[in-house]
């Protein structure tokens, strides 16, 4: 896991660089002698850079017992779930909220959890109905209208 911690440290160092650059050049540290809107972010950027360097420095070398980021095939389910959720977000405005919910639950149960088509479709339809009842009818949330609802 040490190498992954080092990658995290490098990412954090880059993030700190962006924060420092924005605070120093785009925002102002001081405005007419008074603390400006860039002062606190600048300080935070510097602290983050120092902490990132410490993180990298304390994770040099190799692990005594190497630990993989993912166990074999452990990435499949989270990644599949994430892809389905991205599909939901993409469909949300065009297809409508309730249809997207039905698609999300059906795909999730069928692809991620390997449930049967009938169980997946039934559960998805029931979830869509509950979301419609709770959010649209009871809480009056103005969902985007889509193709079906």
């Amino acid at each position: 896991m040490k190498s992954w911690q080092r990658y995290a440290g490098v990412f954090l160092l880059a993030l700190a660089g962006v924060v420092i650059q924005q605070s120093f050049w785009v925002l102002r540290l001081f405005d007419h002698g008074q603390p400006g809107s860039g002062l606190m972010p600048f300080g935070l950027g510097v602290i983050l850079a120092v902490l990132a360097v410490i993180l990298i420095a304390t994770n040099l070398g190799t692990d005594a017992a190497p630990e993989p980021f993912w166990e074999p095939k452990a990435w499949v389910r989270p990644l599949l779930a994430l892809a389905i959720t991205v599909l939901f977000a993409w469909l949300f405005d065009d297809v409508g909220a309730i249809t997207s919910v039905v698609v999300l639950v059906a795909c999730w149960l069928f692809l991620v959890e390997r449930k049967g088509a009938l169980v997946s479709a039934g559960t998805a339809a029931a979830t869509g109905l509950v979301v419609w009842l709770v959010f649209e009818r009871f809480l009056q949330t103005p969902f985007p209208r889509g193709l079906l609802f």
Binding site: M40, L82, T85, W108, E113, V131, F135
Partner: protein
């Protein structure tokens, strides 16, 4: 001292049918969340934030969320005892002796003592809160910008050092949280910060979106890796009420646990997890039979379970009197109060007495409700463990996605939440604790406002933080705390280095 009139007013608020109903729902949800491993109280409160905005009065929303928070402490013991799988972090210690008791056929006694201890400690915590909160709020009225800045610094430091495994990672997360808190409109100058040309980022990052992404989506993705490992409960619980001998043996553990939990819970970052660990260590030391610990000692269940409940109650004290949340769950409640237009802090008791005393009174009622839910109805909670996570995960995801949309009716928030969810997932994989990030995100604006106001007061001179006695004392404590921990870390490294030396002398051949 004891504001009896205020408490009576609180009971008037808490006893209205609507508030009673939401108190019950909060306790039910909290217990369920505590029982089910994976979903913690912070994530659940995050999921409830959008719904709470649709509730009529703020007091009702806070009663619901508080119920979830302290209810989870009750429920957390169930899976610890029956499955050796903590329902939430504060019940980790209960696994040690609770599970051993269950294996010895004494699951009922362990569950009973955990519930009674939780009730006693929860009530002690609320009584302490009733007595301590008003004078503390009075004292906090003397705090100016320098004091508030120093208090937030100390609070954040304590929280980052005490909550996670690594102080360095905790600090990194806290700094990221503070930076995220700077995104959007600067409240003092009106300048737009870190928007990178995205219009939606010009208004500040939404707390609900951030919290639901990190704790909701991140948690679900993380738990998907582990899914399938859960074991169905087959344990039959014969007798739920502990015997008189059990009660006699655990009564002092409950008392000690309540006191420890109450005191540790007030500290930022102290909270339920730390208090249960401290309580377990104290019980082991105080016991006449320390050799029984780890083999099913009832004090090992009674003490920590009492401590985490007392801590859950007392962690409301800094939140409601100083406006400083001490852990992720109270940070969510802090945000809920802000969403409802109420600023937690010293003025809360005076300006929104109904909210403060209503929540306190609901906690008295909630503890009674939870005792009923957790003693005679324990069988129902055990059945809940049979619900397959396969169906729960997509439901929680739907609730998260639809919930975050409903806050601002913005599809952009869904994308931000998904991004935060991925960040939360990766952070968890790399063992970065998310609590300090959320806490810092909440405290960031208070800290920045105090810093800049203090510097304005002193014409830009930083010595204002050291010339004000309270501020100087708070910063002094923070510095001492950091130095002490650095020394501890240094010593640990040296010991580890010394321990590793013999291995270095005879290195193992490594296959490339």
């Amino acid at each position: 001292m004891f504001e009896f009139a205020g408490l009576l007013q609180g009971f008037e608020v808490a006893f209205t049918p609507v508030n009673l109903m939401w108190c019950l729902i909060g306790c039910l949800l909290g217990t369920a969340v505590g029982v089910l491993p994976g979903l913690g109280p912070a994530a659940t409160i995050a999921l409830l934030l959008p719904i709470s905005m649709k509730m009529g009065t703020p007091v009702t929303a806070i009663i619901l969320m508080s119920g979830v928070f302290y209810g989870a402490m009750y429920g957390g013991s169930t899976t610890s005892i029956l499955l050796k799988l903590p329902g939430e972090a504060a019940s980790v210690v209960t696994c040690i002796d609770g599970y051993q008791m269950a294996r010895n056929g004494r699951a009922g006694a362990a569950l009973g003592v955990a519930a009674i201890g939780s009730f006693v400690a929860g009530t002690v915590g609320v009584i302490g809160m009733t007595m301590m909160a008003p004078p503390l709020a009075e004292a906090a009225l003397k705090f100016g910008p320098p004091e508030y800045f120093s208090l937030t610094v100390l609070g954040l430091l304590l929280a980052t050092y005490l909550t996670g495994e690594s102080a360095l990672k905790g600090l990194i997360m806290a700094v990221i949280g503070l930076i995220l808190g700077c995104v959007g409109l600067d409240p003092l100058s009106g300048a737009v910060r870190f928007d990178f040309g995205i219009t939606a980022l010009q208004s500040n990052l939404d707390f609900v979106t951030l919290a639901m992404g990190l704790f909701g989506v991140g948690e679900i993705l993380y738990s998907l890796e582990k899914a399938g490992a859960a074991t169905l409960v087959t344990t039959r619980i014969e007798r739920i009420f502990p015997t008189l001998a059990d009660l006699a043996r655990s009564k002092w553990a409950m008392v000690r646990g309540s006191v420890i939990g109450f005191l540790v819970g007030i500290l930022p970052g102290g909270g339920a997890v730390l208090s249960s660990l401290v309580s377990y260590a104290v019980e082991k030391k105080a016991s006449k039979h320390p050799e029984e610990f780890g083999k099913g000692a009832i004090e090992g269940v009674a003490g920590p379970e009492s401590a985490n409940n007392a801590a859950a109650s007392s962690s409301f004290i800094p939140l409601l009197t100083l406006g400083i949340p001490g852990n992720a769950s109270t940070a969510m409640i802090f945000a809920a109060l802000l969403i409802h237009g109420i600023t937690p802090g010293p003025f809360l008791i005076k300006e929104h007495a109904d909210v403060f005393w209503g929540v306190v009174a609901s906690m008295y009622l909630g503890n009674v409700v939870l005792l009923i839910l957790n003693l005679p109805l324990i069988g129902i909670w055990v059945q809940l463990l049979r619900v397959p996570y396969a169906f729960m995960a997509p439901m929680i995801m739907v609730l998260t996605l639809v919930g975050v949309y409903s806050v601002n009716n913005s599809a952009f928030d869904i994308w931000v939440m998904l991004f935060m969810g991925v960040c939360g997932y990766v952070a968890r994989k790399l063992k970065f604790d998310l609590g300090p990030l959320l806490l810092a995100f909440v405290l960031g604006p208070i800290m920045e406002r105090s810093l800049r106001q203090a510097l304005l007061m002193s014409n830009g001179k930083a010595d204002i933080f050291f010339t004000h006695p309270i501020s100087a004392a708070l910063l002094g404590i923070a510095a001492l705390f950091v130095l002490y921990n650095l020394r501890l870390a240094w010593r640990k490294r040296r010991e580890a280095g010394a321990g590793a030396q013999p291995q270095q002398e005879a290195p193992q051949p490594r296959k490339e």
